[in-house]
Symmetry: C2
Subunit: 225 residues, 2 copies
């Protein structure tokens, strides 16, 4: 189980909550940002939050530019919005060779009028695009269905499965183990990376359901062993 | 709540199980098939099954050609495979005008080697294609995530939500009420019909998960009110 996790584009919507929860589970976190100063500020904020948690061990959460975060970590999670993914990955590709890389990216737009809208991706999914941009990395997809609002609030239980897709079984196993560091989460093997599009699309559907019910929904797969 | 439901293409994978469960809930069912003789045979089989269920009321389940089933029913569910949907709907369009029509269709192929593969639909989803073919009907999408194997086996509890998408709120409400006739099912409002693609795609992902775990999975949306 890798101890050190980089969150690339980790100052956005989902990065800080994931950093908080994974640091609380004892993992060393490197928050990457285009602007290293922003990365450091986000890391300091997370350390402050964790310092206020009774019983939490001193957390090792540090901020960097994306390239440095990628170099320092055993494993990387892509937490940048889809629009920024291509540029980010071209810049960090050498630092991610042979590493497990988890794409959490959902290709979508949000408008106040229309709500969430999935974007067509030529490769089929953001994760498959990431795999093409990182041919020497072990790319899997997952964590799409976790509410960033819930992740950030430690008093809110996470009640969701994390469906992981990928073509490298060992990398998929690692991603499921990382998912299960989050309390209330079960990792579910969703099969090959070509199914990542449906896991990404499910998030768009959950966001639509959130709009209808004004909640932060998640998803549980039933009838698993 | 409409009393009479047509299952168009109802002799396939999901039709018989839905017919069984909805008849058990007291609804009158018309099973439609291209070949009326097949429709009648499927209906007879379901009546036989229901006759063996302790406490079940005499079920009204009859078989027809698709056109006749569509004419007789208050509401129709499209349960034909995607390949047959266009031909079916062109033939029954006049009989479905002003009626609520629920597309349960998942556009996909199955191969022994590759497993399930989603098909691209020019309209975005099978349900949106159905809506274009039935411009005078009230088309919604739902029931994709119910395992046809589980539906058929009355001793197997259904443990899944049914996410219904559509642009007609009243039609969507009716579809959710029909979903909740099935024990263990909750209907969930998934928003507009343009989100149907993600509900259809989720089924492909569930089938991939089924392949991995050798189960008949379903899906529960968490944090609903």
């Amino acid at each position: 189980m890798p101890e050190t996790i980089a969150l690339l584009g980790g100052t956005g919507r989902s990065g800080p909550g994931l950093a908080l929860r994974l640091a609380l589970a004892g993992r060393r976190i490197h928050i990457g940002s285009r602007d290293p100063e922003k990365g450091r500020a986000a890391a300091a904020e997370i350390r402050d939050t964790l310092a206020g948690v009774a019983g939490a061990q001193p957390a090792e959460v540090t901020g960097h530019d994306n390239r440095e975060a990628a170099e320092l970590a055993d494993i990387a999670m892509i937490t940048v919005p889809y629009e920024g993914m291509g540029g980010l990955l071209r810049g960090v590709e050498p630092a991610l060779r042979d590493k497990v890389v988890i794409s959490t990216v959902v290709p979508m737009l949000w408008s106040r009028e229309l709500g969430p809208t999935a974007l067509d991706v030529p490769e089929g999914s953001a994760a498959e695009q990431a795999a093409e941009l990182l041919p020497a990395s072990r790319v899997v997809a997952g964590f799409h269905s976790l509410s960033s609002a819930t992740l950030k609030r430690l008093d809110h239980p996470i009640d969701s499965h994390v469906i992981v897709t990928g073509d490298d079984d060992h990398a998929k196993q690692i991603a499921m183990e990382i998912a299960e560091l989050l309390p209330g989460v079960r990792g579910v093997n969703g099969g090959a990376l070509r199914y990542a599009r449906h896991s990404e699309g499910l998030t768009v559907l959950l966001l639509s359901i959130n709009s209808v019910y004004k909640r932060h929904t998640g998803v549980i797969i039933t009838d698993l062993p």
